[in-house]
Subunit: 391 residues, 2 copies
């Protein structure tokens, strides 16, 4: 009765396991939620009233698929100021969260059996979104500086039917790693030899707590192949479901066409509210506030790990974003560890979920953005205690 | 570079032509917009404040894919009260406008070349949404009472690979027709012999101005095959993009899984706002207000057509909804007529767009919900004048 693609779309067992983390006694590092105490509630009350006073019924009417023009203009300006990416509103498609960009991209580029290159590991929900289009994934090896270019080149030279390359160069989900400047340049030198679109997924780029911002891949995009995704979910609030695509017109008009069939357009009023917030308040100040809190939480998590974890456990040092990545000694399987940890009321996501073709069972992802410092310390203690049982 | 499916997704030439209807001098019967002057703006200001006072940051946080539970409960109650359809919140999936339900259904059921049965004519944007999954459409003949059951039976008996049946029994888009009770029963008798899911798309059902409400197909659904779609877009306001699916759990959990990959979930705050509006105000009174205005506009349009149109032009008499359907003498092609009409500043959608396999060029759809009575009369006069030129 169902389409063949449904065979590969199954409810994640991890998701089922993690349902029990709704229990408040469980300290869950498994999610990827922003800190809700930083959402600008009072400001948004004022924004809601102002939008309805000024726009009236227009705010509740059907609107264009491309999105609310003033917001597209504000995003274009922000792309220039924050990411040094040149764009006008005509390069911006508003989407219902950047997750929607992944689905639209699958629809736009992928026929059954086409190849998607991604980082190894890569974002879990990107794997799910793309799977609906029945691609073959090739996960390109990575190190602390990003995708390994020699591997990328070899794969690109020897693989037919590569239709899409998907990467997260800034504070990657799940590893928290950021590509070095040199790696970015080399990557784009390779890319510019081909005619294959690249999705640069950048939901976390503005959440940098330390170090210099590095130029987006799109700033080295000689042939208009880079399609840049971002979102207000991490710098503002996710419940509004507003993200955007920045791309050359040749891609953007296709995304608009596909989105029209998918949901007509993104919420008119939510687009106007974010636009009004940016106009009336200081989004940059909001981002600074977020970064101050997240930096502290990252530091607290790293300090706790330094003092509690056995020395043969390795982990990344993220300069921003929401996540860090743990590599356990090779004999420890993170899924088994999770089941044991749940008895001690601490949770995480086992790393193998982030490898599109499976494998690498001794890794896990930790989130630190959505929890108090006290609970971070307590949770790491509980986790360390269980890890030590496996020594 | 693009997926094969993109070959069939092209920018509608009609959409391009109708862009000029943004000119305020053009009287456009082409859209399908609700009357914005009926949106409850002042109430929604209060709602926005109340939601943020009560829910705080939760209103802006990520939430579950299924949707906001209190809203799902309210919808379940409404399904019972308005459509006599038994449902609990566990049968309700919140979606980002009912358009999204069409895309999700294509993903869930359709492999390339599978057959979708629909009415002839059928909703234009359903054709677009499904086309992304490369189906073959068979449009079943209809008359004033709905789908012709003998034709349906014959097609079902003789066609392999029918995967989905898509119908709009109440105030159909584009015809404005409503299936008779007898036709509904006969249709479901046929359906209950098979194991093929039926989408009952019902965005307009509550917009009945006269006559008795007829039972939903889903009330005759012996085997849990009917998947019912509706939306707040026509009874409340469309800009929030909130619709819903009512289905047996065997379907609902698959829809949830597919939606998760597509956009994680629908706007948290919009769901809470609609829920709060239903709690604090009288949605039924809002619907009554809408129906009073639309009835008057329909009457004014029909009266103008009765007095202005040549007698060989036929049209439907909708008992509700937003549209009526015009059949011109067979020698008049509606696309040519449209180009001529635009010179006189009046617009409509040519009917052939609503036939998935083309044809039937002497038809057109008129919308009356989004315009003052004066402009309706003036627009029909202009349209009648051009039609007479073809006599």
């Amino acid at each position: 009765m169902f389409a063949k693609r449904m065979d590969s779309l199954t409810v994640s067992d991890i998701r089922e396991i993690l349902k029990i983390t709704a229990n408040p006694e469980v300290i869950s590092f498994a999610g990827g939620l922003p800190a809700p105490e930083l959402f600008p509630i009072e400001e948004m009350k004022q924004v809601a009233i102002t939008v309805l006073d000024e726009a009236g019924a227009e705010a509740f009417q059907y609107s264009t698929t491309e999105g609310f023009k003033p917001l597209r203009e504000q995003i274009a300006t922000r792309m220039q100021n924050k990411f040094n990416v040149l764009a006008t509103y005509e390069n911006i498609q508003i989407i219902s969260g950047s997750q929607q960009g992944l689905d639209l991209s699958g629809k736009l580029f992928i026929d059954e059996g086409d190849v998607i290159l991604c980082e190894s590991p890569t974002y879990l929900a990107a794997i799910s979104a793309f799977k609906a289009y029945s691609p073959r994934f090739i996960a390109v090896p990575t190190d602390d500086n990003g995708m390994i270019i020699e591997s990328l080149e070899e794969i690109m030279e020897n693989t037919p039917n590569i239709k899409l390359i998907y990467v997260i160069p800034d504070f990657q989900n799940p590893t928290g790693r950021t590509w070095s400047l040199e790696r970015r340049k080399k990557f784009m030198t390779v890319i510019n030899k081909y005619e294959i679109p690249v999705i640069e997924d950048n939901p976390y780029g503005e959440l940098r707590y330390e170090g210099e911002m590095l130029p987006a891949l799109k700033t080295f995009d000689a042939k208009g192949l880079v399609i840049f995704f971002s979102t207000f979910s991490k710098i503002f609030c996710p419940g509004l479901r507003i993200g955007w695509i920045v791309a050359d017109k040749k891609f953007l008009e296709k995304y608009t066409l596909v989105k029209q069939g998918v949901d007509l357009h993104t919420s008119s009023i939510s687009q106007r509210e974010i636009s009004k917030f940016i106009e009336l308040y200081d989004l940059d100040a909001n981002v600074k506030k977020i970064n101050k809190v997240y930096k502290r939480r990252r530091d607290v998590m790293l300090e706790a790990m330094n003092s509690e974890f056995p020395k043969n456990v390795k982990y990344t040092y993220p300069q921003g974003g929401l996540f860090l990545w743990v590599e356990l000694p090779s004999h420890i399987k993170a899924r088994e560890l999770l089941l044991r940890c749940l008895k001690d009321n601490v949770a995480f996501v086992p790393g193998d979920s982030f490898f599109p073709n499976g494998g690498v069972e001794n890794t896990l992802r930790l989130n630190y953005s959505n929890m108090s410092e006290e609970r971070i310390v307590e949770g790491i203690k509980r986790l360390a205690k269980v890890i030590k049982e496996y020594e």
